[in-house]
């Protein structure tokens, strides 16, 4: 036991005497939470609208009015020339084109319905779909409010189903509240996976591991002493991230901090085990860095931090359930922070992460050896 304490002391001194690393450890959460998280938003606002109004009638102007009074649109240009508007679309000066053809209002009076062309820049497919939704919404409103009055349809006979929709847990769809739990997952993952393993591989690359190998220190003592500092750093960084997001940006934290801490510790064990396993294959820090980078990338992308987990194909979800502790941790951190889920709600995720932690540690310890 005393040996472990000495070793731990050595590790801590080593980490914090490296002035650069000692600082970086605490700068990472601040950079991520303060600088990067607020930038991540998929919100679509301020659509730049280009209008081609060849009809130029009372009705077409009323329609345009409906758009200009919507908070989602800024009318950039209104012209008769299609070329000009398409050129603006190409230069990203316009996101949506509303093309009202000649004879639009006549068609409407004669046949009761008229088409209107909406062209959307769809390079970003998901934003384009939201833009399409908004645009249809504005036109629907126009149909309801203006046309029905003007054309005197017998409103009383029309059956309407109203949809009253509400967003629970994050009623304003605040993306910061959504992203912070995700960013914290990336933070904890990079500390557990990158820093700890890097530290081990550095001993190998510099040759200092020989000194450990010839010492009476046991394998488990060495591993414990290597991993505990990073377990603690991971927890401290999580705390820093939470404190900053709470007090600087006022993020809503609805669940129990202790429950999040419990899940974090289990998750950290899983990634530390994996890092230890990978480090046994690498002989230089560069190799380790790039291998781990690839793993973090796969884990993060397949965890649902940036894209919806459920949208992945079935096989990918299964693979993720089997090898990827991050997919559980992302779900857990969002559920605890935003929805206030309790332990029972997330029991499956807890045991799955614990299972992965045991698995990764076993293969890592099996691979690790004091002999070269």
């Amino acid at each position: 036991m005393r040996q472990i304490l000495y070793l731990l002391q050595k590790e801590f001194i080593q980490i914090f005497r490296d002035k650069f690393l000692g600082k970086v450890i605490f700068i990472i959460p601040i950079v991520q939470i303060l600088l990067l998280a607020p930038a991540i938003t998929y919100e679509v606002k301020n659509l730049k609208l280009g209008i081609i109004d060849k009809d130029n009638s009372v009705t077409s102007r009323q329609l345009i009015n409906e758009f200009s009074s919507s908070p989602f649109y800024t009318i950039v240009t209104q012209t008769y020339s299609e070329n000009k508007v398409y050129e603006l679309l190409e230069n990203n000066k316009v996101d949506v084109i509303l093309n009202i053809s000649k004879g639009f209002s006549n068609e409407l009076t004669e046949s009761n319905s008229a088409d209107i062309q909406v062209v959307i820049n769809a390079i970003n497919g998901s934003a384009a779909q939201i833009a399409a939704g908004y645009t249809s919404g504005v036109i629907m409103n126009f149909n309801k409010h203006i046309l029905m009055k003007t054309f005197n349809v017998d409103m009383a006979r029309l059956e309407t189903i109203n949809i009253n929709h509400r967003f629970w847990y994050n009623s304003l769809l605040d993306y910061y509240d959504y992203m912070v739990p995700g960013i914290l997952v990336i933070l904890v993952t990079s500390i557990g996976l990158l820093l700890a393993g890097l530290n081990l591989v550095k001993e190998k690359e510099m040759g200092t591991i020989e000194q450990i190998n010839v010492s009476p220190i046991k394998k488990w003592q060495f591993i414990t002493a290597k991993l505990i500092p990073f377990l603690l750093i991971g927890i401290v960084d999580l705390a820093i991230g939470l404190i900053f997001s709470k007090f600087v940006f006022g993020i809503h934290f609805n669940g129990s901090v202790l429950l999040l801490l419990l899940h974090t510790i289990v998750y950290l064990f899983a990634v530390l085990g994996l890092g230890l396993f990978v480090s046994s294959f690498a002989s230089t820090q560069q190799q380790y860095l790039f291998s781990v980078f690839a793993i973090i990338m796969i884990y993060v992308l397949m965890s649902g931090i940036f894209t919806p987990f459920n949208s992945m194909p079935e096989w990918a979800k299964k693979v993720s359930y089997i090898i990827n502790p991050s997919c559980y941790y992302v779900k857990v951190s969002r559920a605890i922070m935003l929805k206030g889920s309790g332990f029972n709600d997330l029991a499956v995720e807890f045991y799955a992460m614990a299972g992965l932690a045991v698995f990764y540690f076993s293969i890592a310890i099996a691979r690790f050896s004091k002999t070269t």
Partner: protein, 368 residues
């Protein structure tokens, strides 16, 4: 010149013999492209719906049928109370809950008005937003289909055209981003680490006392990475063309030339970082935290810059990849020529000159 070639050979051997690194250099772009192309997508595909039907009449059943028949939706729970809804959300089993009020069909018939409550899981805003859109349009369609024929409804119907990307493939967004990111990783991260490695192990001393001039040492160090990066660009382009049917509307020569410019910029950034860092770990963290992480988020790769808070528009201007991504998108997807991307090109050129000058000034022949 001969000396120089010898040195470059040494560096190439150095890299090639480290087969693990080589594997990763080629595996990384492949994994990334496959992940983005086949696995993850921003599209909302499996929406789990919970239904709380307080009315259980023909109309509500027809609407539920219609939702269940839509490919994206899956009715996964029948709910009976609002506690039920809360539990289903907290366990993460449903994305949205649909609630039909009592006597739905009768109200619709007699009062001409009935209400559906739609509760969405706001903890995933994008999914919630799109789910609301989809659900509303299904109900709207149901209503349109059930309008009595004798009732005249005057309406404008939007015909929506998705320009540039009619099938809404996400490849259009990620391929340019992956190219930029991979180039940054190889050129900045690998170069800075490999130069600082020589410093940390003291072998830089050997190079500095050799007859090679500092400029030759640096060029020799970065030349192999230039080749590796170009190969990676070609791999990514081939994969996106053959696997994901991405168009190549503009000139491929122009695209490769622009890529070379960006690679040069990234290499000069790598050299610059190696003049600041004293050991490999420093080089890694400066590259990762100072450049790669911000580039991933602030370059318009996954998140459109236009939607970010204003201050990020300005911060994004100093991200080299932001400019490069615009260039790739314009050339590949829109078929733009040089004149359409000249501003971006000049910005990249300016940044390159700036960082080369800065590193030349900082590069020390003497050891401290």
């Amino acid at each position: 010149m001969k000396r120089m070639m010898g040195f470059i050979m040494k560096e190439i051997l150095h890299i090639v013999r480290d087969y693990r690194t080589i594997i990763i250099v080629f595996a990384l772009p492949t994994i990334q492209i496959l992940l983005f192309g086949l696995v993850v997508s921003m599209d909302i595909k499996n929406i789990h719906v919970g239904v709380m039907d307080n009315s259980k009449d023909d109309v509500t059943r027809a609407i539920v049928q219609k939702i269940a028949a839509t490919e994206r939706f899956k009715i996964s729970e029948v709910l009976y109370s609002s506690e039920d809804i809360d539990r289903a959300f907290k366990e993460g089993n449903i994305n949205c809950a649909i609630i039909f009020e009592n006597n739905f069909a009768r109200k619709l018939k007699n009062e001409k008005k009935a209400e559906i409550g739609l509760i969405l899981d706001g903890s995933e805003p994008n999914t919630a937003n799109l789910t609301a859109n989809y659900t509303m349009s299904i109900v709207r369609k149901y209503q349109e289909e059930n309008i009595p024929i004798d009732l005249k409804i005057t309406q404008v119907k939007p015909q929506i055209l998705m320009h540039y990307n009619p099938q809404l493939k996400s490849a259009y967004m990620f391929v340019p981003g992956v190219i930029a990111l991979i180039l940054l990783m190889i050129c900045v991260l690998m170069t800075s680490v490999s130069i600082t490695r020589e410093k940390e192990f003291g072998s830089m001393e050997v190079l500095l006392v050799s007859p090679l001039r500092p400029i030759q040492i640096i060029l020799g160090k970065v030349a192999p990475y230039l080749f590796l990066s170009i190969i990676d660009v070609v791999i990514i382009l081939l994969m996106s063309y053959f696997i994901f049917d991405l168009p190549m509307k503009g000139s491929i020569v122009l695209l490769l030339l622009e890529s070379c410019l960006f690679i040069t910029l990234a290499l000069s950034l790598g050299i610059f970082i190696s003049t600041i860092a004293t050991n490999m770990q420093q080089a890694m963290f400066i590259s990762l935290i100072g450049l790669l992480m911000p580039s991933m988020i602030l370059s318009g790769f996954m998140i459109p810059i236009e939607n970010m808070p204003d201050i990020y528009h300005y911060i994004s201007l100093i991200m080299p990849s932001r400019w490069f991504i615009v260039i790739i998108k314009n050339i590949m997807i829109k078929g733009a020529g040089f004149w359409a991307v000249q501003v971006e090109t000049y910005v990249l050129l300016g940044m390159t000159i700036f960082f080369i000058a800065l590193s030349a000034k900082r590069f020390k022949i003497r050891l401290d």
